[in-house]
């Protein structure tokens, strides 16, 4: 890649345009030098697609929570880009226990302490957690 070929396609979603990254490219004398780049179309497309997939999944989960098929834990877990195994580590439980808590009937039986732990992992208040979807 030559310095004049370094792409400058802004990543204009989710504040992605706030950062210009450094790429290494060859100048006209054949010497490597660092050039800042706003982004590249191909890469922006891939990143955008990954975020869109997150959004789709989240909308789908929100709908399931409102329908009563899942508990708010499932929604906030997706919102925080977590998986059950990661969330389990944050709340100090096994993965299968977290999966259980994602069912509405089990969620309703959770203790105040357990709810507080989940709320802390999601960085929200207990009220926000319990009132979601109602």
């Amino acid at each position: 890649m030559k310095t004049n070929e370094v792409p400058q396609d802004p990543k204009n979603f989710r504040e992605g345009d706030k950062v210009n990254k450094l790429l290494y490219a060859v100048d006209k004398d054949g010497n490597y030098t660092g050039v800042t780049s706003a982004g590249w179309e191909a890469e922006n497309f891939a990143t955008k697609q990954a975020w869109d997939a997150v959004d789709e999944e989240l909308a789908h989960t929100a709908e399931q929570v409102k329908r009563g098929a899942l508990s708010p834990i499932a929604y906030y877990m997706h919102k925080c880009l977590m998986e059950p195994s990661l969330l389990a580590k944050y709340v100090g439980k096994w993965t299968w226990q977290v999966k259980r808590h994602m069912k509405k009937e089990n969620f309703e039986k959770l203790s105040a302490d357990m709810l507080a732990r989940y709320a802390k992992a999601f960085n929200i208040s207990v009220e926000e957690l319990t009132s979601f979807g109602k």
């Binding site: 890649m1 370094v6 990543k11 979603f13 989710r14 504040e15 992605g16 345009d17 706030k18 950062v19 210009n20 990254k21 450094l22 790429l23 290494y24 490219a25 060859v26 054949g30 010497n31 490597y32 660092g34 800042t36 590249w40 179309e41 191909a42 890469e43 497309f45 891939a46 990143t47 697609q49 990954a50 975020w51 997939a53 880009l81 977590m82 998986e83 990661l86 580590k89 944050y90």
Partner: protein, 334 residues
Amino acid sequence: MSIADYKHYQHAHCESGVTANLLRHEGVDISEPLAFGIGAGMFFGHLPFLKVSGTPGTTFRTWPGAIFKRATQRLGITMHTQRFPNPEKAMRTLDDVLATGKPVGMLSSVYYLPYLPEAFRFHFNAHNLVVYGKENGEYYVSDPVLEQTTRIAPEDLAKARFAKGAPEPKGFMYYVKSVPKEIHFEKAIQSGIKQTCFFMLSPPIPWFGNKAIFLLANKIQQYPKKLTPRKASLYLGNIIRMQEEIGTGGAGFRFLYAAFLQEAANILKRDDLQEFSHELTLIGDDWRNFAYNAARVMKDRKEGMVSFDELADMLRICGEKEKDFFKRMQKLKW
């Protein structure tokens, strides 16, 4: 040291960037490519069974921590490294070291760094940054992938240093203890190059090194048969992101490594390394071409199997060229 004494340089990659910034602060004249090459950072791996948020893992670099460790060891620099059982202890020790005037490198999770744009904030726990001071209850941060320095609140930094998942940073931090009077780059460069050749060519298993490029090519060819179009598109997208997204310097570290070979050629006064650098630049362009075409296939999902076959062939060409490249570089007489 006061906060004003620390000089921040932007780099392409976090780990080699932090290594270069910390060493430069101690008066070692080292660039990012040099740190990356001596640390033998270039690599390839594809692990279809290891799913990272639902997509198979692909990597263009060696495992986290290796670049920094190898580079400092090869240059004879003594580092202090430490992990902690809890955030309180980790933050207290950080404050103590900062008070002595040392900038401190550390591991963090990108997800918990509020100064980064949301677009980049996934759960990635092996991001390196430098903290070089504390004032008015805020830490001064030199994040090598950013153009400017920034600040972070202690609660946020503690969260980022104690993120859970794999790997867990556990507050891992490091700083330079002592630098030898004279630094010999020649020997360090040699062992760095030898190691990179070894890791690219020798792994007898299909998931690592040069062989993994062909494994990935075979997998890509199967995507349209085995996956839904949406999944296939997400899988391809992940490869592009690993290759091009923030931190690789372009073409999955190939340009960064070519820059290293050029600098090595100048230090060792060897024209053959200059040639190798030029050659790798061209291979890097092939990788970029692959990413460009992969994005095209993703945009137009209707095109079907032909495009995936073409993509696989493009990768195989990259693989063949790199195999030949490293085989010849391995035979260099020093």
